[in-house]
C-alpha cells in the first residue's frame, strides 16, 4: 500500500481481521462505518502489546516503563498534530470522543464567553452531540441558539447563514459532514464568514475526519472535534483541536490529577494546555491505538481513500437508483461516505432486519439526528455508510439484499 500506487482493496481488507467473519451464515458486509469503523490488526496489536509488555502510567513514574509510555503518548499527540496540520502539539487535547470534545468547548469556552443576548449558530443537519451542549449553554446564559436552514437536497442555505451573522454571534458550530445525509459542508467558507462577524468556528469532524484531508489551518477552524473509533482506532478516545490562544483563555473542563501545577487547600494553579484539560489518568492504550490508526490511514493516504470512497458512493447511488421504490434522503452536490434512503413504505427497521439475515450490516433509525428526520418528514432512514475497505461487490450484495426485502414486503 505505497502512496500513489494502485488502491488494492483486497490487500487492505486482509489488514482487518473481522472482515473475514460471517454474519448469519453469510459473508459479513459491513456498511455501518458512520456509526463506528472496524479496526486494522496494527491497532489491535498495538493495544494488546502495550497491555502485555509495556503497560505503565504516564507523567508520574520515574521508572523507565512510565517514561516510555509518556514519550509514546507525546508521540501520538504529534501524530495527531500532523494529521490535522495543526501548528502546535499543545493544540491537540485527548478527550473521550467528539461528543466530549464539543461538550468541553461548550462548557469551558461557552460558559465563559457566551453571555445574555449573545447568539450561537448551529445548522439544521447536526448530530444531537452538536445541538444539546449548545442548547444547555444558551439556556443557562440566556443566549439565543439559531439554526442555519437546509434545502431539500440537504445543503445548508448559505445566504440565510450570512444574514444570521452579526456581532451578537459568538460561536458557529457546524458539522463537517452530516452523519444522516452525507452532506459535506463548505466549512472553509463558513469559518471565514464566522470570523468576519467576530465569531469563532467549531467543526464537528466525527464523520469528516475519516473521509477527507483535514487541514485545520487551511479550513480556518478554531476548534475541530473527532472520535478515534470512526477512523479505525479504538473507542473511548478522541481529539479536540483548539487554537492555542483560545485554549489558554478557557477555564479547565474537569479538575483533578494531572491538570494542576500546584495544589494547596487554599489555592490551585492549573497546568498549561493541553494538560489543563486532561484531568486524571487518560486512556493510555487507546491513545496508542489512535496513533496506530492515524499512521495506518496516513500510510494509505487520506486523499486516495477519499477518491476510492467517492467511486463507491457513485456506484451505490447508481445501483440503488435502479431498485424500484428507493428514495434517497440527502442528495447534496457535495457529499461523501454514505447513502441514506427509504425503500417504498417499508419501515427502515424491517429493511435492516432482512439485510442482517443476508449478512449486510446497515443502520436503520434516526441516526441521533431527529431534527433532520423531522425536516425531511421521515421517522427514520436506512443508512449504508462506507469505509476504506468496502468494495463494489459489497454494494452489489446490498442491492441484492434490498431486492429480497422488496419481495418479502411486496
Amino acid at each position: 500500500m505505497t502512496r500513489g500506487g494502485v488502491y488494492d482493496v483486497g490487500k487492505i481488507r486482509k489488514d482487518f481481521p473481522v472482515l473475514s467473519r460471517k454474519m448469519n451464515g453469510r459473508p459479513l458486509v459491513y456498511l455501518d462505518n458512520a456509526a463506528t469503523a472496524q479496526k486494522p490488526a496494527c491497532v489491535i496489536d498495538t493495544i494488546q502489546k502495550f497491555y502485555r509488555e509495556e503497560y505503565a502510567t504516564i507523567h508520574r513514574g520515574v521508572y523507565s516503563m512510565s517514561q516510555e509510555a509518556t514519550e509514546r503518548v507525546d508521540a501520538v499527540r504529534e501524530i495527531c498534530r500532523r494529521f490535522l496540520t495543526a501548528e502546535r502539539t499543545e493544540e491537540v487535547l485527548f478527550v473521550r470522543g467528539a461528543t466530549e470534545a464539543i461538550n468541553l468547548v461548550a462548557a469551558a469556552w461557552g460558559r465563559k464567553f457566551v453571555g445574555k443576548g449573545d447568539e450561537v449558530i448551529i445548522s439544521a443537519i447536526e448530530h444531537h452531540a452538536n445541538i444539546v451542549p449548545w442548547q444547555r449553554v444558551c439556556a443557562e446564559k440566556e443566549a439565543v441558539l439559531r439554526v442555519i436552514p437546509v434545502n431539500d437536497r440537504g445543503e445548508l442555505l448559505l445566504d440565510a447563514y450570512r444574514q444570521m451573522l452579526s456581532d451578537k454571534v459568538k460561536m458557529v458550530a457546524v458539522t463537517h459532514m452530516s452523519n444522516a445525509l452525507g452532506t459535506v459542508n463548505p466549512i472553509r467558507q463558513m469559518a471565514r464568514l464566522a470570523h468576519g462577524a467576530g465569531a469563532l468556528f467549531l467543526a464537528d469532524g466525527a464523520q469528516g475526519i475519516a473521509h477527507q484531508k483535514v487541514d485545520v489551518r487551511d479550513l480556518g477552524c478554531d476548534f475541530y472535534a473527532f472520535s478515534s473509533h470512526k477512523i479505525y482506532g479504538p473507542t473511548g478516545i478522541g481529539v479536540l483541536y483548539g487554537k492555542l490562544a483560545h485554549l489558554e483563555s478557557m477555564d479547565p473542563y474537569q479538575t483533578g490529577g494531572d491538570m494542576i501545577e500546584s495544589v494547596t487547600f487554599e489555592k490551585t494553579t492549573f497546568a498549561k494546555t493541553p494538560r489543563k484539560f486532561e484531568a486524571g489518568t487518560p486512556a493510555i492504550a487507546e491513545i496508542l491505538g489512535l496513533g496506530a490508526a492515524l499512521d495506518y490511514v496516513g500510510a494509505l493516504g487520506i486523499e486516495r481513500i477519499e477518491a476510492y470512497e467517492q467511486q463507491l458512493l457513485e456506484t451505490a447511488i447508481r445501483k440503488l437508483s435502479q431498485i424500484p421504490g428507493v428514495r434517497f434522503i440527502g442528495t447534496a452536490a457535495e457529499r461523501a461516505g454514505l447513502v441514506s434512503f427509504l425503500l417504498g413504505d417499508i419501515h427502515p427497521h424491517d429493511v435492516g432486519t432482512v439485510l442482517d439475515q443476508e449478512g449486510v450490516a446497515v443502520r436503520s433509525g434516526h441516526h441521533c439526528a431527529q431534527p433532520v428526520m423531522n425536516r425531511f418528514k421521515v421517522p427514520a432512514t436506512v443508512r449504508a455508510s462506507f469505509g476504506l475497505y468496502n468494495t463494489v461487490e459489497e454494494i452489489d450484495a446490498l442491492a441484492d439484499a434490498l431486492g429480497k426485502v422488496g419481495k418479502i414486503f411486496a
Partner: protein, 152 residues
C-alpha cells in the same frame, strides 16, 4: 450454519405482513374514554391508542393511529381486534400473558396456548431487538387501561 430464510419467514409471517398492509381499526376515535401514546424513542415507533369503555367495563370500541415497523403495526392491529368486546380486566390479563410470552426465557405449551392467535409472534423472539416492537402497543394498552379502571 442454518440458512437464514426460515428465520425470516418465521418472523414475517403472512398474517403479520397482511395486518401491516391493511391494519384493522386504524382510526382515531374522538372523545375516547381511555387513551395512550406509545412511543419508542430508540426506533421511532409511535402509536396512539383510543378506547371506548362502557359503564360495565367492557371495551366497546378501539382504534389506533401512528407509524412504525411491520411488527409493531401488525401487533397493534391484532390488539384492536382481540380486545374489542372484552372487559378491561380481560384485556389487561391478555396483555400480561402476551408480554410474558414475548419476554420469558423459555416458552411452555401453556404459555403459547394462553396467548391464542398472538402465538404467531413467536418468531419475533429470535430477534431480541425487535421484541419491544411487538409489545409496544400492549404496553400502551396497559397505560391506557389502568388496573384501577378495571371493574368486575
Amino acid at each position: 450454519m442454518s440458512h437464514p430464510e426460515p428465520k425470516l419467514s418465521h418472523l414475517y409471517q403472512e398474517v403479520i405482513l397482511e395486518h401491516n398492509r391493511s391494519p384493522r381499526n386504524f382510526k382515531e376515535i374522538p372523545n375516547p374514554t381511555h387513551y395512550s401514546h406509545g412511543h419508542n424513542a430508540l426506533c421511532g415507533d409511535d402509536y396512539h391508542l383510543y378506547f371506548i369503555v362502557d359503564a360495565g367495563g367492557v371495551i366497546r370500541d378501539v382504534g389506533f393511529q401512528g407509524a412504525g415497523c411491520a411488527i409493531s403495526k401488525s401487533s397493534a392491529s391484532m390488539l384492536t381486534g382481540l380486545v374489542k368486546g372484552k372487559t378491561v380486566r380481560e384485556a389487561l390479563e391478555l396483555k400480561n400473558r402476551f408480554v410474558e410470552f414475548m419476554t420469558s426465557d423459555g416458552l411452555s405449551a401453556p404459555q403459547k396456548e394462553a396467548v391464542g392467535r398472538l402465538a404467531l409472534f413467536e418468531g419475533v423472539r429470535e430477534f431480541p431487538v425487535r421484541v419491544k416492537c411487538a409489545t409496544l402497543s400492549w404496553h400502551a394498552l396497559g397505560d391506557a387501561l389502568k388496573e384501577g379502571d378495571a371493574r368486575p
